[in-house]
């Protein structure tokens, strides 16, 4: 182990970690928005739109992110739709994550029992109030563990974006191996960097999960 090399490479990794985190942040945020909208479309069985959403979910869940990114980045460029690598990566993550988040939200919405909804209706709540005060609070507490797992999944999936030349953690490690042949050092730093990012998030999610478990009706 060449510790001088490791110390010198720290700024590179910090910069790369910023790229990874930034991409994940936007990817997860967009996924949440897309997923939430899609789950509502399916929950209310909006005509036509529900079918479109279902097709999107199946397409996105049954293909790998790497292929989606290549298709978006290299494929679409040739028919006139050009993305920058950065926006392409965010778009790809949102495309993939949206369907996973939609499934998480949907299972939460479906877990709210009929009795709850009927009770809400019988005390005279309108549809909006029913959603806001009865369904969503319960759906969220059921969906939180899945949402958290998806967020971590998306964060890990960002490692793939190095394939379309974005300078994330993976890319920097590859670069250092290629340029200086410092394989052990570069890979150790890579693992350490991912652990620094992922361990606290993973622990935080376990904590949140324990907190919301008491929120379900009847517990």
């Amino acid at each position: 182990m060449d510790f001088d090399f490791i110390v010198k490479s720290i700024p590179l990794y910090v910069k790369a970690a910023e790229v990874t985190l930034e991409l994940s942040f936007w990817g997860i945020l967009l996924s949440l928005i897309i997923g939430f909208i899609c789950s509502l479309v399916i929950y209310y069985k909006v005509k036509l739109l529900a079918q479109v959403v279902q097709i999107y979910i199946e397409l996105s869940r049954n293909t790998p992110l790497l292929i989606q990114l290549f298709f978006l980045y290299y494929g679409f460029a040739k028919i006139g739709i050009k993305f920058e690598a950065y926006s392409c990566a965010i778009f790809g993550l949102a495309f993939l994550g949206g369907s996973y988040m939609a499934e998480a939200f949907r299972s939460g919405l479906e877990a709210v029992s009929k009795i709850q909804i009927e009770t809400g209706l019988s005390v005279g709540l309108n549809r909006w109030q029913l959603m806001r005060y009865i369904i969503l609070p319960q759906a969220f507490s059921v969906a939180i563990p899945a949402i958290g797992a998806n967020a971590i999944f998306l964060l890990k999936e960002t490692s793939v974006v190095s394939a379309i030349a974005l300078a994330d953690l993976m890319f920097v490690a590859k670069d250092l191996i290629g340029m200086y042949y410092k394989t052990t050092e570069a890979l150790t730093m890579l693992v350490v960097a991912y652990l620094i990012i992922l361990l606290p998030i993973s622990l935080l999610l376990t904590f949140i999960e324990r907190k919301v478990r008491h929120a379900g009706f009847g517990n």
């Binding site: 199946e58 397409l59 869940r61 049954n62 293909t63 790998p64 790497l66 292929i67 989606q68 290549f70 298709f71 290299y74 494929g75 679409f76 460029a77 040739k78 028919i79 890990k156 999936e157 490692s159 793939v160 190095s162 394939a163 993976m170 490690a173 590859k174 191996i177 394989t183 052990t184 890979l187 890579l190 693992v191 991912y194 652990l195 992922l198 361990l199 993973s202």
Partner: protein, 226 residues
């Protein structure tokens, strides 16, 4: 030009080459899935053992595999392990090892979940009837646990198939690499080749994974109602 672009797929032996490329990743996935099922079940049963040391070791293994991205594991094994141990491992061998390690951990957790989610009175009732441990497993635990774990296990299989697309990044010549070769050859004749080739690969993955996920969803629904 654009509407003719799709012809690039059917030119010469291009489609066949893509399919052969796809077979390379499928082969890795199939071998890894087979290993994961066998050893994953064993690992899952080990995880239910009430021994603190065993549980800590099993938990560490599972969390380590889970928290580090698979692509990083591929790099660690392909570039790191081979250098540290001074051995040479082919990219395909490394892929099988990494995907098996991942699969065993995930499969183990699925099996553990299926076994521990059975109500405790099931085991106790068996014991009360005077069944031996082996009989309790054979007649009570396994038949019920299998129904709970099969949909999840099939899901894991599709995840593994999808994730094997990453092996191109450690140099396995698979469907994406073959696609790039086809694009490079036909770039002058058909500028839109990359759109059609990547669309084709996208479709190929979908055609493989979609029926499998449908199947798992169907089993899940069927067994939920019983």
């Amino acid at each position: 030009m654009q509407d003719l672009g799709i012809n690039v797929i059917f030119e010469g032996s291009n489609l066949l080459r893509l399919l052969i490329g796809l077979w390379v990743t499928m082969r890795i996935a199939i071998v890894a899935i087979a290993i994961s099922v066998v050893f994953g079940i064993a690992f899952g049963i080990v995880m239910t053992v009430k021994n603190t040391f065993v549980q800590i070791v099993a938990r560490l293994y599972l969390e380590a595999v889970r928290i580090i991205p698979i692509l990083v594991w591929l790099f660690l094994f392909y570039f790191g392990l081979t250098k540290v141990l001074h051995i040479h491992l082919g990219a395909e061998v490394v892929s099988v090892i990494v995907f098996s390690l991942w699969g065993i951990a995930e499969m183990g957790d699925i099996v553990r979940g299926a076994i521990t989610s059975l109500p405790a009175h099931q085991r106790a009732s068996g014991r009360a009837l005077g069944l031996t441990d082996l009989q309790i497993y054979r007649y009570i635990i396994i038949p019920q646990a299998v129904r709970r774990l099969i949909p999840a296990a099939i899901n894991l299989a599709t995840r593994m198939i999808k994730t094997t697309s990453l092996v191109v990044l450690i140099g396995v010549v698979e469907v994406l690499k073959v696609g790039q070769q086809i694009i490079e050859v036909s770039i002058l004749k058909t500028p839109s080749a990359s759109f059609w080739v990547y669309a084709c690969i996208f479709a190929l993955y979908f055609i493989i994974c979609y029926p499998i996920s449908l199947w798992s969803k169907k089993l899940e629904l069927k067994w939920q109602n019983q």
